[in-house]
Assembly symmetry: C2
Homo-oligomer: 296 residues x 2
């Protein structure tokens, strides 16, 4: 099976589970469920859930145990996009070719849909330990990984510095801080939490962490490159928006050629990290290449 | 000791703990810590933490175990106020006589400070179970109570309906839904989670739930009454804002006299719920009277 077919298959399995966690209720607050679903099913690639489940699988774990966590991660990712698109933040009208949440439901409901998804992520994870049916210690550790990566010392911290850097020239360290916290942090947590739930050895967890740090950063630098020279049809959004918004990016600070070579360096190191594990690392390695070497 | 002195003492203990969970870091995202602290230490009465600790004490539990949960509750309460005050929601410039978070830090940072506090609440609670040092089952149950009460079927659900009801005439059922979900829900969770951590018997938990439902609703109806006929000096905000905003309230739907008698009825029932427990219920009973029969 080609990687693209494999990813489609995995995406469909995750979407089916997400449907279970996000039903529509006809309660008086019904519109919030519609609003959360609108953004949740707006064409996301489910990369974080796919990474989490793959890491769990890689260490020989039971993917069914990791599934609610994979869904919770996607809820956290989606809430962060909804809030990020608000007029008070990036002020984006479109995402993946569709109107952003607040353009459809209004700013107030979009704020609440984001809050609702963040809270639902924790409800979803906590529900997996309520009966202490097994592996509770691993699950708690996974929740801690995810909560720290999502919080003020992780993703939210990155968003704060991103917001403070609007229309400003920033230096390489600041850009690295933003990329690492805003994007890589949750990707690292996806991989680590999946591995922890799957019962990873210390050696496996260490290798996977190195793998995830590389692809987390590589993924974001690739995004920066694509925004500059990508094919609009392939990336599904306008090229040049960072330039237009005077947003500092990896290419704007370090140049395009260095950025491209940095991506290759990160990809190589992510693959090297998993080399000792032979064949069972194949999917994760292919995934790294797919994420980091997207078309440009 | 008078109740007011006792409450001040308890507030000081809680504030000292909150300081521990909300330090200032000089990281690049440092301003988010200032922003979260600004709203956290803006004069809140810590009613939810006080209720939680009192419920834990009532059932003979160890208050130290409940303390991080009490702080987490206050973080959740505070995040909900920050988001509620935003222009996209209630659009309030002042709260407790001080500028609201977004008036000081801007809308973007206020959104992130709210997100940060919600996430920190879960980080704080999860940290208490990371070493499985004891009572983990009770703690997980308490987290579930809190997460459900805060989410789309609880507090957020109430905020959604409140938002949808802006500038509309609503019926009694809708108002009850808003009051129950937006206000009572988290108050009930405060009491129940504290009791659960303290090791409540079924009988104790049932009585405390009845107590909390009554004061949760009574507290909000009293708020509605105070907004209509309160003493501005005593309540610390302008009287008549609900009328001015054409906001439906308990008195506007049911009349002032019925509202007053409803408060007394709820208070009586909250006290009756704890009657079988004799002296050890004294503080909770006094607290009910304090919360529900504030000056008007």
């Amino acid at each position: 099976m080609s990687l693209k077919t494999e990813l489609k298959k995995r995406l469909a399995v995750i979407d089916k589970e997400l449907e279970v966690f996000l039903p529509i209720y006809s309660d008086p607050q019904g519109v919030i469920f519609e609003s959360m679903r609108y953004s949740m099913f707006a064409g996301g690639k489910r990369l974080r859930p796919i990474l989490m489940l793959a890491a769990c699988e890689f260490v020989g774990g039971n993917k069914a145990l990791a599934m609610p966590y994979a869904c919770a991660l996607e809820m956290i990712h989606t809430y962060s996009l909804i809030h990020d698109d608000l007029p008070a933040m990036d002020d984006d009208d479109y995402r993946r070719g569709k109107l952003t949440n607040h353009k459809v439901y209004g700013d107030g409901l979009a704020i609440l849909a984001g809050d609702g998804l963040l809270n639902l992520a924790y409800e979803t994870m906590l529900n997996t330990v309520k009966d202490f049916t097994g592996f509770s210690e691993r699950k708690i550790k996974a929740m801690l990984e995810i909560s720290q990566a999502s919080g003020v010392h992780g993703m939210i911290g990155g968003q704060v510095v991103d917001l403070l850097s609007e229309n400003k020239k920033i230096d390489g360290d600041t850009l690295y801080f933003i990329h690492y916290h805003k994007t890589a942090s949750l990707i690292i947590a996806s991989v680590r939490a999946g591995a922890i739930i799957g019962g990873a050895s210390d050696e496996e967890l260490e290798a996977l962490t190195r793998y995830a740090k590389n692809i987390g950063l590589g993924f974001q630098i690739t995004d920066d490159i694509l925004d500059l020279i990508g094919d609009e049809k392939k990336i599904g959004k306008k090229v040049g928006s960072d330039l237009q918004n005077q947003k500092s990016t990896f290419p704007s600070i370090y140049g395009l050629e260095y950025s491209k070579s940095k991506v290759i360096e990160l990809l190589d190191d992510s693959i090297e990290a998993l080399q000792p594990f032979g064949n069972r690392a194949t999917f994760l390695m292919e995934l790294a290449e797919y994420l980091v070497k997207r078309d440009y």
